[in-house]
Symmetry: C2
Subunit: 465 residues, 2 copies
């Protein structure tokens, strides 16, 4: 078995029952505490105890209203609504941790890059270099309608806008304040040398930003760029920008080729295959014994909600999954489209029969689109090592079935097993998030597209008239 390290990342969202629709009803679930600081402080401490790379906080700015053409089922089941702002949990968690990274989802479609770049720099300062940004370009149409963007941009055009959005951010983060611009010299009275603070003078197709960045350089300058888009255009975008990539799919057969393709995109963008860390989504149900784990699993399954799962799946696929017999084979008319989507995503049904909605909702009711690893610590560790070997992923983006129980089991039972095998760190180095991922310092490497926007004394002088 490979001794390749297995990276662990946690997946959460500022809502009830993130990837386990209906499981807020489980007697031990306390994910409804998402609006209390204590929920986040406890989670952050737990993940740092488990030596995780980072906590990745998903987001949607809208409600799931494809199912039945209404938001009612989403509201009833708390299917990712209500949902709070992800960014605001991070400064609190930073107060009780020293090492854990934080990846925050923010869309390039909702806020102008000028104030957004300031938000991220502020957070990188406050966390001392522990911040990642999960770049999202798409969003639920129900969200876009509320900020007047409906129909404004096609899928591919959204990525073009995102490319320019990142260019503005790189210019602000990398190119506005030179290293050494801040002198903070009480004697001479010079806080910063204005000749080393540059206006970015960006004039693009979608954004005009003439000014200087409002923040002095933060430890990482550019936050670690996360990306999770699965389309061809999304993978190209990831190849160019991403330093951590999140995939999701149920089997190694589906994830393996995806990872190969992502690494090829990295090379196509002039980067190295290992220049992005790839995490694939999974949920762990672990107990001291295999039997105990399966009992836990069955009990979790019993508390899931088919309808809540179909609400999320309808939103993800754009197909209204309401109004059908859950146990009939999906065939004919509108159902053929559902059957194709299911087969494309899940592969053929293991029994060779058509998928039913019951199959699909059961599969999605724990851990959304990822696999569920059930077993003793050794069994789950075996499965994870198998996945890493088969797919070339660097690690896992771990969702929870119930909070905080799922993650507590991971930290208390699985992590020690991985550590025993020598595939998971036992201590943190003192470092920024980027340095933890790549071991090459806090800043973007020279071969990353963002590095081209740096201003050094030399490049700055070269531009003088």
């Amino acid at each position: 078995m490979t001794q390749r390290p297995i990276r662990l990342n946690a997946f959460d969202m500022n809502c009830v029952t993130h990837q386990s629709p209906g499981l807020w009803r489980h007697p031990d679930d306390a994910s409804w505490r998402y609006k209390d600081l204590g929920y986040w402080l406890d989670l952050a401490r737990l993940l740092e105890r488990g030596r995780f790379d980072a906590l990745f906080i998903a987001d949607v700015l809208g409600v799931y209203d494809v199912y039945g053409g209404s938001r009612d089922a989403a509201v009833r089941h708390a299917a990712q609504v209500p949902v709070g702002d992800p960014l605001l949990t991070v400064p609190a968690m930073a107060t009780v941790t020293r090492h854990l990274g934080f990846g925050i989802t923010a869309s390039t479609g909702f806020e102008h890059p000028y104030p957004f770049a300031r938000r991220m720099s502020t957070l990188d300062h406050l966390t001392k270099g522990r911040v990642g940004w999960n770049v999202v370009t798409s969003y639920l149409e129900s969200g876009a309608r509320n900020i007047g963007l409906m129909g404004q941009a096609s899928h591919d055009e959204r990525y073009d806008i995102a490319d320019e959005y990142l260019e503005v951010c790189y210019k602000l983060w990398e190119g506005s304040w030179e290293d050494g611009a801040v002198l903070r010299d009480k004697g001479s009275g010079v806080f910063a040398d204005p000749s080393r603070v540059h206006a970015i003078e960006h004039e693009g197709r979608w954004f005009q930003v003439p000014g200087v960045h409002l923040c002095e350089p933060s430890p990482q300058r550019t936050p670690v760029i996360f990306q999770a888009g699965a389309s061809a255009r999304g993978r190209r975008f990831a190849g160019r920008h991403a330093e951590a990539i999140f995939t999701s799919g149920p089997t190694t057969e589906i994830i393996g080729p995806l990872v190969a393709d992502l690494r090829a995109e990295l090379e196509a963008a002039g980067r190295r295959r290992e220049d992005a860390v790839v995490y694939t989504m999974a949920t762990v149900v672990v107990d001291e014994t295999s039997r105990g784990a399966w009992a836990k699993h069955d009990e979790l399954r019993a508390h899931g909600s088919d309808e809540a799962a179909l609400v999320l799946l309808s939103g993800w696929t754009g197909l209204d999954l309401s109004g059908h017999d859950l146990d009939a084979p999906l065939q004919g008319g509108h159902q053929d489209a559902i059957q194709s989507a299911a087969t494309a995503f899940l592969g053929s049904h293991p029994d060779g029969r058509p998928w039913t909605l019951r199959d699909i909702s059961a599969w999605a009711s724990i851990g959304g689109r990822g696999p569920v690893f059930v077993g003793s610590p050794a069994e789950v560790a075996d499965e994870m090592q198998h996945w890493v070997e088969e797919t070339d992923v660097d690690g896992f983006n771990l969702a929870y079935a119930i909070a905080p129980g799922t993650m507590r089991d991971v930290v208390e039972l699985l992590v020690p097993e991985l550590q025993r095998r020598g595939v998971h760190r036992t201590e943190y180095e003192d470092s920024s998030l980027r340095d933890r991922l790549f071991g090459a310092g806090d800043r973007l490497p020279e071969r990353h597209t963002g590095a081209a926007f740096r201003r050094t004394p030399d490049t700055a002088a070269a531009e003088l008239p």
Copy 2:
């Protein structure tokens, strides 16, 4: 002497040397630690120890570039640049306090109300009802240029936009989720009753927001509305919306009539004179003895910077104060406009002669536009009580000369004196920020304009077809 309580609010900004230009050079100043969480945690603990109502965090999204037509002097002196996002300091401070309120500045010109309303609800949840929003409509032109808004709206039109922006927010905060909509009933599996969660269907001149609010109701729903605009249109806006109003001016003669006018605006808007708490800006230099305080004051003055003060004053007034003899009377040409502005704002010079730039910059170099109260605890307390009596303000918005020294002196020396006089609380009640200010519960009172957007089971039923 009046026994009227004196409310204390602290004034800060996510930057170096907020209202005391140049004083980052003072040997004891550590305001450059603004980018460390520790700065904010220490400050929050200190203010809670001093039983302050709240910490008010100012903001500008731009740089001061009127002075000399360039940002260079602002950068050199750290005159409110670099400046970080104010919002992100709050969740961290909430982890180490239980009572202190937080007023955050955010402009209605920079972010769409739909995501903004979610940010504030999230923060009100995380702080358990301790959040205020300082509504800003204007901004430095240097900021507006960077988000493509240059010349988009006149001063008065900006207030019209802000009125609609608040209407959208009130609808989301007060009218979308009824009280009792969230059932969280594990038995029936109903998290929230969709019939009690309403789309706001806002179609206005500037904003179209059809959807539901993304957050379940937070303790205060609408954050406490702060306002600081001093123009006639700004005062009208405050009369309609504000629950805490911040004024600034050097003398009781200037502040008294302003407070009277603000209270009249409240009545004109169908509210009570006491429906907004008025804080006026001041800086306290206190020591055990009068002599010690004056020595401190002189030492602070010696570390101020004329140029840094003129940078801020140029930005505030829009008049370029560069290039003149600091000690010559301001007379003739462009200087007449400066003389008029100074006289309008400061009154006539006490010696009957014209103001010089040296006078103006010295006056602004500690505590910006407010008075400086220098003396023993008893002397400063006398002065504060005198101000309250003369002007009808409810309390003070206290800036610092140096951080954390100024505020530490206030908490350790002045606060005990005010407590001894029975004009400052010795313990907090367990309450939301709004309840602390008005003692009438967590929610907006019925007579506030925002309350009209509430949905109760009755109003909701009345709208059914």
